[in-house]
Symmetry: C2
Subunit: 229 residues, 2 copies
């Protein structure tokens, strides 16, 4: 864990995938002392948690918290309930891997920690392009959460403007990968797959694997991923 005396603090949501790893690298390169927050919400892809630990260590965060919040009681998603992860390619509309209110919950927890840390900046790897159709990955969502953050907290009420940064919001997966490659992100440490094998290999068929493969191909960057299929 690095020491960043004097640097402004930022809370960075870190899942262990490509997008959040790249977001952390962007926050670091912007001069923030980064406090990474990983939430184990009962997702199928728990190997993500280990990936998040590796990414945090490699990129040099000031602190990394892994928090338990079982969202399986909410249900309604292939990521947290007993619904099959689709393997037939991206369809129309909002997919079954959408986790109801997930990013709202994650940003709320980040906001609470930010307030205690005195951090006015929160980073999330939300992406509205290759985003699989999730409502809480759109610019309107990020703007609405920022407005909320500034009335919900003591910091906001006292006039310290809180900013929600989603630096990847309008990037394609290829642009994200090229950005991270420039900033030294080791993508071999990250995991995207929604339904990895017992050994932690990527399935190769879920939406996340398809977007990942396509992204590396389009970026012209070698894909370090081991796909089962």
């Amino acid at each position: 864990m690095g020491v960043d005396a004097g640097a402004p603090r930022a809370v960075v949501l870190l899942s262990g995938g490509i997008d959040s790893a790249t977001t952390l690298a962007v926050a670091r390169s912007s001069g923030f002392a980064c406090y990474a927050l990983t939430v184990n919400y009962g997702q199928r892809h728990r190997v993500e948690i280990e990936a998040a630990r590796r990414v945090a260590a490699a990129l040099g965060v000031t602190a990394h918290k892994v928090v338990e919040l079982d969202m399986r009681w909410i249900g309604g998603s292939a990521l947290t309930a007993d619904i099959e992860v689709p393997k037939t390619g991206l369809g129309e509309g909002i997919p079954v891997t959408y986790v109801p209110a997930r990013n709202t919950v994650l940003l709320s927890l980040a906001l609470g920690w930010a307030e205690v840390l005195g951090a006015r900046d929160i980073f999330i790897g939300a992406n509205a392009v290759d985003y699989s159709g999730y409502p809480d990955c759109r610019p309107a969502f990020i703007a609405a959460f920022e407005a909320l953050a500034n009335v919900a907290t003591k910091m906001g009420v006292e006039g310290q403007k809180i900013s929600i940064h989603a630096p990847l919001l309008r990037m394609s997966k290829a642009e994200i990968i090229r950005t991270g490659a420039v900033l030294g992100v080791e993508y071999g440490l990250t995991i995207s797959c929604y339904d990895p094998t017992e050994e932690g290999r990527a399935c190769g068929g879920c939406d996340a694997c398809r977007l990942r493969r396509k992204g590396f191909a389009e970026a012209g960057v070698a894909d370090p991923t081991s796909y089962a299929h």
Copy 2:
């Protein structure tokens, strides 16, 4: 647990105190099938959880979920960290019993459950009058969360308007107690104290106890509470 076939569903945040019990009674009397949500966030006053169970049973909810979300890792509050609960009366500004981003987190979880239930209505007992100065109990906060809810979710994106109801927002504690008394709330089942004794008796000195005592006195309703002091 009651059955409310055909009634519109609402998620109601239920802590076990006066305000949320009254809010549940208001939601019931408005014709909603109520899904009560209690979050055990690591607060000092865990006896609240048992109070919530008693209130839910007495008022007749369709379902009641008690969810674990330890917020003690965030710290920064006398309710969740090792900071003493003040007993010297209401002071100026935002008190140390403020839990950073608490209502944002609670409403986010309610929103996730509402989406899975198909409930377009969420009730919270936030109060801006006798509110001890919490930023996330103000009308601006409720309005900002409602705006967020409508862009954060599949329901909202598909045009089903989500409403955040805070029916007590502008009531005094005395008005809340009179409203609940009319609706048949048994306040003897509720607990307000931030720092109850081992046996679950109210301390009598914390802000919550002071507001409760004053509320019953001003409402002209007999206070069923057993105070230690």
